[in-house]
């Protein structure tokens, strides 16, 4: 039961992240997989990635340091990071 709830939460978080990426980068939702790299696969440039991080901060009400932000180069890494930071 606990496992399932966790899974649902993760899916909801992925949906939120995907929506932000689709809106910010103007990519079709199906391209936003966990493996997708922001720059190479989703066409972001360095300013786009800064804007994306800001959108994540806004949506999830948290601060992401520049050092941490630089490590988040794929959708999966961003989801995992946000999941960890938003754990109750």
């Amino acid at each position: 039961m606990k496992q399932k709830k966790k899974g649902e939460k993760k899916m909801a978080l992925f949906d939120d992240v995907r929506d932000i990426i689709v809106e910010q980068l103007h990519v079709p939702p199906e391209k936003v997989s966990l493996e997708a790299k922001f720059i190479e696969d989703l066409g972001a440039d360095s300013l786009d990635t800064v804007e994306l991080i800001m959108a994540f901060e806004e949506k999830f009400n948290l601060q992401i340091s520049e050092e941490e932000a630089q490590k988040l180069d794929t959708v999966g890494k961003a989801v995992a990071y946000l999941e960890d930071k938003t754990k109750a």
Binding site: L25, H26, G43, L47, V50, E51, M54, E57, E58, Q63
Partner: protein
């Protein structure tokens, strides 16, 4: 020295999103001034402006790109795309290092500036967009046009308030004349109709407060004028070295033969008494053109509808042209659409070219009782007039005391 011709034009104005619609409406005498629709003006004294209507750039260009461009650059891109198509020039067949971009803008990305500054105040520095600076800087008009078409010749933006567009065309003309480029994409763009800028211009007492009669508010050279009307828009011209244009069989609108630029050295907003700086600007343009003053038969005035500009510009024209003054035909394009600031010089250059092409000069709207200073000046009013134009000048005079005049001549080989 190379001869310089205009081979393509594009425009987006408060009376039309392309050249044809804009020009048709100019000839019909349709005003583009109206109550502001773009934002709530309930707290503003001035509630009217010349806004571009039904502008949906994301339908014509990649939405991902449009999102990163301020409205000022979007308007410029729109007009430039029409001008490039009109010139039927295939940049891929040209040496792109010989194609420059010099576009003027008085203020640049005001919409972006205001949006991001509000975020800064409400949410703090961490929420300011990384695109603030590239979207806000006024030179992104020239920068982005070059990026879009891969153009690598001289590239910069001219900033001289209401004369920015004319200075851009003047510099583009010189770049080709002196051999720095074969082709220059030039013009002006402005998107200043924002809550903050409206407050600033309004508090200068520069704007008309005729809120109840928007179409009658812009009335250059009329005794009942009470200020200018803020407006947005863009126009782009493709300038070419005559030999380059001939080689590719381009159609030619007209030749640019002179550019005059002077400074008032007088006041931050008021023009120098008797339009002394404007007079010298016209004089220089005509001198470079190598024509006699009595060869000029059309003057597209700066005519803003403000107290001092109109009075001094009229005096300056009469002083310069002397006895020939009565043979000049004049009008004020701002009577139709308001003042598009950095775009005005470019839109008015386009008006001169179309007037020359079609042999018709559009009316000066609302010129019902001309100023005493206009005595002896033949303004087109009450409807358009057929005039064969051989040689024309267009004036642009900016806050800061920047004066620019362009001189155009009917093309003959």
């Amino acid at each position: 020295m190379n001869r310089v011709v205009v081979t393509g034009i594009g425009a987006i104005t408060p009376v039309g999103n392309d050249i044809k619609t804009t020009w048709d409406n100019f000839l019909k005498g349709k005003s583009g001034v109206d109550t502001i629709k773009g934002f709530d003006t309930s707290r503003h004294t001035v509630k009217i402006a010349g806004e571009v209507k039904d502008f949906e750039p994301e339908k014509k260009f990649d939405p991902k790109i449009i999102k990163k461009l301020d409205r000022c650059v979007q308007l410029c891109l729109w007009a430039t795309s029409e001008a490039v198509a009109d010139a039927q020039i295939d940049f891929d067949q040209c040496d792109k290092t010989q194609i420059g971009v010099i576009i003027g803008s008085g203020i640049g990305g005001l919409h972006t500036w205001e949006r991001e500054y509000s975020k800064f105040i409400e949410k703090g520095p961490a929420r300011v967009s990384p695109f603030l600076i590239p979207m806000m800087i006024p030179d992104m008009t020239s920068g982005y046009v070059a990026i879009h078409w891969g153009l690598k010749g001289p590239n910069y933006t001219t900033i001289s308030a209401c004369a920015s567009g004319a200075h851009a065309i003047g510099d583009a003309f010189r770049a080709i004349k002196y051999g720095d480029a074969n082709v220059v994409v030039t013009g002006g763009s402005e998107a200043p109709v924002t809550p903050f800028a409206l407050a600033g211009f309004s508090n200068m007492r520069a704007l008309s407060r005729r809120n109840d009669e928007p179409q009658k508010a812009s009335r250059p050279f009329d005794v009942d004028r009470d200020g200018f009307i803020m407006a947005e828009g863009a126009a782009t011209l493709i300038l070419e070295d005559l030999e380059f244009a001939k080689k590719r069989g381009a159609k030619i609108y007209a030749e640019i033969v002179g550019f005059g630029a002077t400074g008032d050295g007088y006041h931050i907003t008021a023009p120098a008494p008797e339009g002394e700086g404007a007079r010298r600007s016209m004089e220089r343009a005509i001198k470079e053109a190598g024509c006699r003053k009595d060869e000029i038969n059309y003057v597209n005035t700066h005519g803003t509808s403000t107290e001092l500009n109109d009075k001094f510009e009229a005096v300056a024209i009469k002083k310069l042209f002397g006895d020939h003054t009565k043979k000049l035909v004049l009008n004020a394009t701002k009577s139709m659409i308001g003042h598009t600031l950095g775009a005005a010089g470019a839109i008015e250059a386009v008006v001169v070219l179309l007037s020359m092409r079609d042999g018709i000069v559009h009316t000066s709207l609302n010129l019902e009782n001309p100023l005493p200073e206009c005595n002896g000046l033949d303004f087109v009013a009450g409807g358009p007039r057929k005039v064969i134009i051989d040689c024309a000048i267009s004036n642009s005079l900016g806050f800061g005391g920047h004066n620019a005049t362009l001189c155009f001549k009917r093309f003959s080989d």
